[in-house]
Amino acid sequence: MSDNEPIRILVVEDEPAIAADLCFVVEEVGYAIGGTASSVDEALKLIEDEHIDGAILDANLHGVCSASVADALRARKLPFFVLSGYLQRQLPEPLSGAPFLAKPYDEEELTSRILALAK
């Protein structure tokens, strides 16, 4: 990854409006969208196929827990943070151990979380 190549973020979120907002903020901080996924399968496929540098992961995709996506990200040592309306302790282990941003999020908080993905 060269310095002028923007950091590519995978947005995994089933709620269209939130996904749109996340994309907006990602682009606003100067990163690129590495892809958007609204289901576990889509997310796993993008992690497999696309070049990405980090991810924003919604804990629940259409009622399906996204723990396996977290595992896949960990396996590739890709930084990510979990986004959820659930309490963090209500989440299963691979999700509860990750950096967490509670919905509804604050834009500043979201921005700092996104920036932190590059470190």
Partner: protein
């Protein structure tokens, strides 16, 4: 025989009189003045009479000789007892004068022997002779044998006699006592009295009448319980007697208050005087003139419970044998009453036990019902792994076990009722309770015998013996499956609602942020308001449909509500009834809202003739079903693609694409904007609900 005759001659010669021997009667005969007797002087008595008399006088057996047409009486010493006070007056008297009271019986018999020459034989013949001034019930076994006179005719009757009175009466009394002893056990004391009375009634000779009174200490009364030979309620046997009442008509004529205080073995004797009116006679021809009153004292008591009034036979002296007989009768009544009371007490105890058992059974049934109602089973268990313990019937119901079979032992429950890990938890809890005596409560998943998953709450406590040592475990098992399921549903719903609320808030914030980026504050207020309202409208539809999806016609109408006047004229909606998933409904709804807003501002709905055409449906291409939807404008002002895309554009294009996972295009054709969607059916349409 010549020697005998010579002996008589000698005696005659020695005294100048006849000599009949040394017996008392012989002396009396010698001393008697025979001049007035029909027999005349002994010297004139026929020789055969004298011979017979010799035999009679020398016999130790009672023998009488009745001589001549008047049956003049001669007898020996052995007859004295039988004659009683008739001796010695009877000597030489005609039998009719000796026994006028029984002449109607013996007269014809004697006549028969004398005239007919036929000997008679009577056994235990009942004769009421006068003895010592009163008639006496007597029984006699005797024979009348003719004796020849010197001239060969029958001159008299030879009569050996045995008094069988004691034997006959003794047997009769013994029969009464035996019958009393043989009575079956009575139900109660009153019944015992009545049954005893029925035996006494069969022996009116010894007990012409009788009455049994039971004492009522509290009322100071005696109540007639049974009577024989006398009408209850009359003067002799009133139904109730006030103890000690001196009233000469209705008072305590018998003096029962005294009898009530008598100790066992003591009796009171009452003369049946004029106060009693005319007492009943029983089988006798005259009424009794006295009665014996016995206190009836039950075993284990010191006061009389009753009194027996036994009338004494008018034809029998109250001698020791008679008194003993009556005393035994009273004793038998006392023991029959004692038995009856013991039996009644026993029955009362049995009844008490029966009532208690019934109550116990009822309580048990109630417990069963309560357990059924509360879905609680109970189990008592020694703490040993192989012990089956004792289970309540509802326990079998909870686990779907055979209620007739013993419950599985605790060890057998592992894997059968509880998954091994859950059983281990239960095992640990029970062992802790058996060790420390502290109760436990556990919620555990369990399994019915048919494999169905259930959930139970188990509460256990230690069972202790009288020395407070822990000897086992008592537990209740409550089936909380339904409650657990309901609770889980509520928890799930709560989590879900919270999650959705937060999600929605996030959406609102995102919309606000994105709206704010482009518009001026005034425009923001309007746009934001519209967008939130559109969001709200689709949310309403979702809620109405219990979050299961939204019908697409309704969704389209709600998002285009602003233009509802144009429905059917300039806004056409075509397509089958289609339920879309919650996620898709929000994306489609927001896209429709943005399309309509743009159309109203710049497109087909901004002039007076433009038309918006909305169509949706399902197509099948090479075996795969797709959801197709399009928004097609025409007749509006010429379209120019915007130079800069805002949030609306992103919603219409990216968001829809993101949410529906298919192909979404937005074509700014100059004749009108065209938005079209083609997405895999499963992403959009809720699969058809099954029957259940």
């Amino acid at each position: 025989m010549t020697a005998d005759a010579a002996w008589i001659d000698v005696t005659e010669r020695r005294s100048g009189r006849f000599f009949f021997g040394d017996s008392e009667t012989a002396a009396a005969i010698t001393a008697a003045n025979w001049a007035k007797s029909p027999l005349g002087l002994p010297q004139t008595w026929p020789k055969r009479l004298r011979v017979a008399l010799e035999i009679c006088l020398n016999s130790a057996f009672p023998i009488a000789i009745l001589w001549g047409g008047e049956f003049c009486l001669l007898y020996n010493d052995a007859c004295h007892g039988l004659l009683a006070d008739k001796h010695p007056r009877a000597l030489g008297l005609p039998a009719r004068e000796v026994w006028p009271e029984i002449w109607d019986v013996i007269g014809p018999m004697l006549q028969d022997a004398l005239v007919g020459g036929r000997p008679t034989r009577s056994e235990d013949l009942q004769l009421y002779t006068m003895r010592n001034g009163r008639r006496d019930e007597g029984y006699f076994t005797f024979s009348y044998s003719p004796i020849r006179d010197d001239d060969g005719t029958i001159g008299g009757v030879f009569c050996p006699v045995v008094v069988t009175t004691d034997r006959v009466i003794g047997e009769r009394r013994l029969r009464t006592l035996r019958d009393l002893a043989a009575l079956s056990r009575a139900e109660n004391e009153g019944e015992a009295c009545r049954v005893a009375a029925s035996v006494l009634a069969a022996n009116g000779y010894d007990v012409p009448f009788s009455a049994i009174y039971r004492f009522d200490e509290d009322r100071g009364e005696a109540e007639l319980t049974a009577a024989t030979g006398v009408l209850p309620g009359g003067r002799v046997a009133p139904r109730r007697i006030k103890l000690g009442d001196p009233d000469p008509d209705n008072g305590d004529l018998w003096g029962l208050d005294e009898v009530a205080r008598l100790t066992p073995g003591r009796v009171a004797i009452r003369t049946l005087d004029a106060r009693f009116g005319e007492p009943p006679c029983g089988p006798w021809t005259t009424p009794p003139d006295e009665a014996v009153l016995f206190p009836i004292v039950l075993l284990g008591q010191d006061r009389a419970a009753a009194a027996l009034i036994a009338a004494v036979s008018p034809f029998k002296r109250l001698d020791a044998a008679y008194a003993y007989f009556l005393d035994r009768v009273a004793a038998k009544i006392a023991s029959a009453m004692t038995d009856a009371r013991a039996y009644a007490a026993e029955r009362e105890r049995a009844e008490e036990i029966r009532v208690r058992e019934l109550a116990l059974r009822r309580a048990e049934a109630e417990l069963c019902e309560a357990q059924r109602l509360g879905r609680i089973g109970s189990w008592r268990w020694s703490g040993r792994l192989d012990d089956r313990g004792g289970a309540s019937p509802y326990l079998a119901r909870i686990f779907g076990l055979d209620p007739a079979a013993p419950p599985p032992s605790f060890a057998e429950q592992k894997g059968l009722l509880y998954a091994p890990a859950d059983w281990e938890r239960l095992d640990a809890a029970t062992r802790e309770t058996l060790r420390t005596g502290e109760s436990f409560e556990l919620d555990l998943p369990a399994h019915r015998a048919d494999g169905a998953a259930i959930h139970v709450t188990i509460r256990g406590e230690a069972v202790r013996d009288e020395r407070d040592a822990i000897v086992g475990l008592r537990s209740t098992i409550q089936d909380i499956t339904e409650r657990k399921q309901a609770q889980e549903r509520v928890e799930l719903l709560l989590r879900e609602v919270t999650h959705r609320a937060k999600n929605l808030l996030t959406v609102v914030r995102a919309v606000a942020r994105q709206t704010a980026r482009k518009d001026s504050p005034v425009a923001f207020a309007q746009r934001f308001d519209q967008r939130i309202a559109a969001l709200g409208a689709s949310h309403d539809l979702l809620v109405q449909n219990e979050w299961r999806g939204v019908e697409l016609h309704a969704l389209t109408r709600s998002q285009l509500a602003h233009f509802r006047d144009l429905f059917g004229s300039r806004i056409h909606i075509e397509g089958p009834t289609t339920i879309v998933k919650p996620g898709a409904s929000q994306a489609i709804g927001m896209a429709l809202h943005e399309l309509a807003t743009n159309a109203g501002k710049y497109g087909a709905l901004s002039n007076d003739e433009g038309v918006a055409h909305i169509a949706f449906g399902v197509t099948s291409e090479s075996g795969e079903s797709h959801f197709e939807m399009s928004w097609r404008e025409s007749g509006g002002p010429p379209v120019a693609a915007p130079k800069r895309h805002g949030f609306g554009h992103m919603v219409i294009l990216q968001m829809a694409k993101h949410a529906l996972g298919g192909r979404v295009t937005l074509d700014y054709a100059s004749s009108g904007v065209v938005w079209s969607v083609s997405a895999p059916l499963d992403n959009v349409i809720e699969p058809a609900q099954g029957e259940d």
